[in-house]
Assembly symmetry: C2
Homo-oligomer: 200 residues x 2
C-alpha cells in the first residue's frame, strides 16, 4: 500500500469510528448496525467490515481509546501539579472532569454500552479504566497517608468521585452558563471536600 492509499484508508477508518460513536450514542449498541454505521460514514457495510470485524470490535476501539485519552489528560495535568497530595488529587479530578465535559459522546457511550460487550471484550476495555482508577486510589491514599484526607474506605470514595465526573456529559452544555473549565474546577473542589480535606 503506498502512502496515499494508506492515508485515505486511515481517513475512512476515522470516519467509521466517528459514525459508530454517533450511532452507539443515538441508538445504543443494540440499535446500531454495521449498515447504519456505514451509511453515516458514507461507505458500505462491507467497507466497515474491512476495518472492523464486528460491532463489538468498534465499541472496544472507541471505549479503549477514549479511556486512554482521558488517562493521558490526567497524567499530563499531574506532571505540573507539584508534590502536595491535596493539590495533586484536586488537579487530577479536575483534569478527569474536564475531559468528560469536552468529550461527552465517548463518556456516555462508555457508561451505558460497556455492559453489552462479552467478558473477553469487556476485559480489553476495563484494563485501561482500572489503571485510571488505580491512579486515583494512589492519589487518595497519599492524602490519607499524610493525614490530610479523612475517609474510611479509599476505593469507595474514588468510585464516588469518578462516577460524579462521569455524569457531567448528562447535563453539561458548551453554550450553557458555565465553561468546561469552571465545571472542572468545581468538581476538583467537590472531590477535595468529599475526602474530608481541610485547608486550614
Amino acid at each position: 500500500m503506498n502512502t496515499r492509499s494508506s492515508k485515505e484508508s486511515q481517513t475512512v477508518r476515522d470516519r467509521i469510528v466517528d459514525a459508530a460513536l454517533d450511532e452507539f450514542y443515538g441508538s445504543g449498541f443494540h440499535g446500531a448496525t454495521m449498515r447504519t454505521i456505514g451509511n453515516r460514514a458514507g461507505c458500505s457495510a462491507a467497507n466497515v467490515y474491512n476495518h472492523f470485524e464486528s460491532k463489538s470490535e468498534l465499541l472496544v476501539e472507541i471505549l479503549r481509546s477514549a479511556s486512554d485519552a482521558q488517562f493521558t489528560a490526567t497524567r499530563n495535568a499531574l506532571r505540573k501539579a507539584g508534590d502536595d497530595p491535596a493539590r495533586r488529587w484536586e488537579v487530577a479530578v479536575a483534569a478527569h472532569a474536564l475531559f468528560a465535559a469536552r468529550m461527552p459522546r465517548e463518556c456516555l457511550v462508555a457508561n451505558t454500552e460497556l455492559r453489552y460487550l462479552d467478558d473477553v471484550d469487556r476485559k480489553r476495555v476495563v484494563g485501561s479504566r482500572d489503571a485510571q482508577e488505580q491512579l486515583f486510589v494512589e492519589l487518595a491514599q497519599a492524602g490519607v497517608g499524610k493525614g490530610v484526607f479523612v475517609i474510611p474506605r479509599v476505593h469507595e470514595a474514588v468510585t464516588a468521585v469518578l462516577t460524579m465526573c462521569s455524569g457531567i456529559p448528562l447535563w453539561f452544555r458548551p453554550d450553557g452558563p458555565l465553561t468546561a473549565q469552571e465545571v472542572a474546577e468545581d468538581y476538583g473542589r467537590f472531590a477535595l471536600n468529599l475526602v474530608g480535606y481541610r485547608s486550614d
Copy 2:
C-alpha cells in the same frame, strides 16, 4: 371485571413489568421487544399489548414508579430527621443511596434508557425526577442559608451528589464486603463533606 379476574390481571401486569425491567436491563431498550418481554413473562406479545400499548409505555411505567418509590423513601427518612439542615441533607442522601443499592435494575435502566424515550414520554418521567432534585436543592439551600454549607452553585453540587448515588448499582453487590446500609451512610457522609460542611 370481578375481583378474581382483576387480581389475576394485576399479577400478569406485574409479571410483564418485571420481565420488561429484566429485558431493558439485559438487552437495552432497543434490544428488547414486546415478544421477548412476553416470553420472559410467560405470555404472548398480544397479551403484553393488552396491558401496555408500546415498549415506550412500559419504560415510562417502570421509570416513573421507580422514581416515585425512591422519592417516597427519601421523604419518609426526612420525616424522622429533625430540623438541623446538615443532618437533613445527610439523611436524605443516605436514603436516596440506600434505594439505589437495593433497587439496582430500576436505577441502571433509568440512567441508561431514558434517552430513548421521545420528548413527550421523557417529560412524563422527568417530572418525578425533577421533583426529587428540587427537594435536594431545597435541603442544600437550607444549609447554605444557615451558613453551614459552603458551595458557590447549589444545583451543580446537588447534581454531583445525585449522580454519585446513581452509580452505586454499577458496583454494589449484596454479598460484597459492605452492606447497603453502610454504603448509604458513607454516601451521606460524602455528601456532607462535598458541600463543605464542618461539624466543629
